[in-house]
């Protein structure tokens, strides 16, 4: 059986229960509890540290206001309630990437609770509950000799990342397929990047996901044994890891075996999860309230102030694009995929480019160029204003499609004024009926065989005549008009 077929067969007999936990670094400038710069990638190891994030004795943490605002903004985007009282707690464990011996996190009174996220999967609407969104701090990074933890005799520690604000988004076990899990993450990342709190980079680990998965026979009330899966650094890895777990758990259950509650790591190269037994056994975090941080009282006025900073969310914006600009659901989804994309589109429309024309060019040729050059439109030589004036020339009939395409590719890289170039190079479209009619007659005279073929019913013969007129104008002819004139002339003779 193929993997897909194996999964489908397993899903017939077992109900899969999946819950996801996402850790997302917040885009603050400074760390969570100290004013060290939060940028941990461009500095030399341990350069961005201070006594607070180094865990030295006698220091006091202070709460970063922006991190609280960002977390509340996220919680509101996910329809969570914001309780009026919240506090921080110490989660105690010893590991060299966290020199204090505890992580400041939130235990029983998190910043937000009871939200949800809705998204489509294969045409069905899925609604996944959000248990809570809370705030904590990231750990440092470790490099093991030989990169294999088990055999390393020593490890290198960099504490630049230690104390970077980290938001944890805990989802309810409402997901039933690996595909739904993947879609949940895609949608969640889209929202976080839209509202400007996270950069959504799975590969670099600024957006990380752990999954809990269990299987139970269809119809059973009791949940099966839960396995936690880690080490997935792409959307595809999440889906593959969960599929691999379904296969593994199905085999154990089908053979009459019992599963062990454990943490397993996804090994991309082997396409399977492996048990991470030893480290996780002694989980006993002995949470207690952080005595060094006074609690937070978040009143309704504060919550409303944060709510006012929420931009229009992608789903609502896609819906509005359909209504306001007459776009298809597909085009609207493509053009609202990122906030930059959607802002660009609305800037083009505001610059008097017709909605449909802007949609076609932005999601077609412009997207291809952005991809090819790894430069988004707004940072290209052309820029949004340049594209708008180019498309206005297309809309006015001043230049034809092929000319516009060539200019776009050139100006995307080198920059320049489209109107000036069209004038200086004489690229304006030839759409004078009298001029084109003369060229049409000449083309028919010069290509009698093609003309005869077309009159005999061969539609394709028209292509040769069209090319002849196009060449006679140096590629600048208004081709729809040429097409019409050719047909009229050939049929009247």
């Amino acid at each position: 059986m193929t993997e897909t077929a194996t999964i489908a067969a397993a899903l017939d007999r077992y109900e899969v229960v999946i819950g996801l936990e996402v850790h997302a670094q917040l885009l603050t400038r400074s760390k969570m509890f100290c004013p060290c710069p939060a940028d941990y990638t461009s500095a030399a190891p341990n350069a961005n540290t201070c006594p607070v994030c180094l865990g030295l004795p006698g220091v006091l943490p202070t709460i970063n206001q922006e991190a609280v605002d960002f977390t509340v903004r996220t919680a509101l985007a996910l329809h969570c309630d914001i309780p009026p009282f919240t506090k921080f707690d110490r989660k105690n464990y010893f590991y060299p990437d966290l020199p204090k011996g505890y992580q400041i996190s939130q235990y029983d009174l998190p910043l937000s609770v009871s939200g949800h996220l809705e998204f489509p999967v294969g045409g069905d609407a899925v609604r996944c509950g959000i248990t809570r969104v809370h705030l904590e701090e990231d750990t440092g990074t470790m490099h093991h000799a030989g990169d294999v933890l088990q055999s390393a005799t020593s490890s290198l520690i960099d504490l630049n990342r230690c104390g970077v604000p980290l938001m944890e988004i805990v989802g309810e076990p409402d997901l039933r397929t690996p595909e739904a899990a993947r879609e949940y993450l895609v949608r969640l990342r889209q929202i976080l990047t839209y509202i400007g709190v996270n950069d959504g980079n799975l590969e670099k680990g600024s957006f990380r996901c752990d999954a809990n998965i269990s299987l139970r026979p269809r119809g059973a009330q009791e949940l099966g044994v839960k396995v936690e899966v880690k080490n997935m650094n792409s959307f595809r890895a999440v889906q593959r890891a969960l599929e691999s777990e379904i296969e593994r758990q199905t085999e154990v259950l089908d053979a009459g075996g019992t599963l062990v509650q454990e943490t397993r790591g996804w090994v991309e190269a082997q396409g399977r999860t492996i048990s991470q037994r030893s480290k996780e056994q002694a989980h006993d975090y002995r949470y207690f309230p952080e005595p060094d941080l006074p609690p937070l009282r978040l009143d309704a006025a504060f919550v409303e102030r944060v709510r006012a900073t929420l931009p229009e969310l992608p789903e609502a914006r896609a819906h509005r694009f359909q209504q306001q600009y007459g776009l298809t659901a597909y085009d609207a989804a493509v053009l609202t995929d990122t906030r930059d994309e959607a802002d660009t589109y609305e800037a083009l429309v505001a610059a008097r480019v017709p909605a449909k024309l802007a949609a076609n060019w932005q999601s077609g040729d412009v997207a291809a160029l952005a991809n090819e050059h790894h430069v988004p439109l707004q940072h290209s030589g052309l820029g949004i204003d340049g594209l708008a004036s180019l498309l206005r020339l297309v809309d006015a009939g001043t230049i034809n499609g092929p000319t516009a395409k060539e200019l776009l590719a050139e100006l995307y890289v080198s920059g320049g004024n489209p109107e000036g170039l069209v004038r200086d190079r004489g690229l304006a479209q030839v759409s004078d009926t009298a001029e084109l009619s003369a060229l049409v007659d000449a083309a028919i005279t010069a290509n009698p065989a093609a003309a005869a073929d077309f009159r005999a019913g061969k539609q394709r013969a028209l292509g040769q005549l069209m090319r002849a007129v196009k060449e006679a104008t140096g590629g600048k002819a208004d081709m729809p008009l040429v097409n019409r004139l050719l047909r009229e002339r050939l049929l009247e003779q």
């Binding site: 004013p35 030399a44 961005n48 540290t49 709460i63 290198l156 504490l159 480290k279």
Partner: protein
């Protein structure tokens, strides 16, 4: 209050402390004394008091998100027992001490 020897082992493991049997016996007694004291405190009637994790009245003490100069790697590493370049070096992470 009686603390079991297994509980002492467990707490020692969580704290990554490698203790001899003699040390564990001594700590068992000391920890029991501390727990006995807490037990006495728990007999005080607090039914009229609100639960609190803080003794001060401070709330909403926040800092603006403005970065300040860190102390830098040289200062951070000054007291480190072992370094490599500007990294801290620690011994093996996984192995006997965690599996204990």
């Amino acid at each position: 209050m009686t603390l079991s020897r297994a509980e002492v082992d467990h707490v020692a493991t969580l704290a990554r402390l490698g203790l001899s049997d003699a040390e564990k016996d001594r700590l068992l007694g000391e920890l029991e004394a501390i727990l006995d004291h807490i037990e006495r405190l728990q007999r005080v009637d607090t039914s009229t008091l609100a639960e609190t994790a803080q003794v001060g009245d401070l709330v909403n003490v926040l800092r603006a998100d403005v970065p300040e100069a860190p102390i830098g790697a040289a200062a951070a590493l000054r007291n480190a027992p072992a370094t490599d370049g500007s990294y801290f070096v620690v011994g093996a992470i996984q192995g006997t001490e965690l599996d204990a």
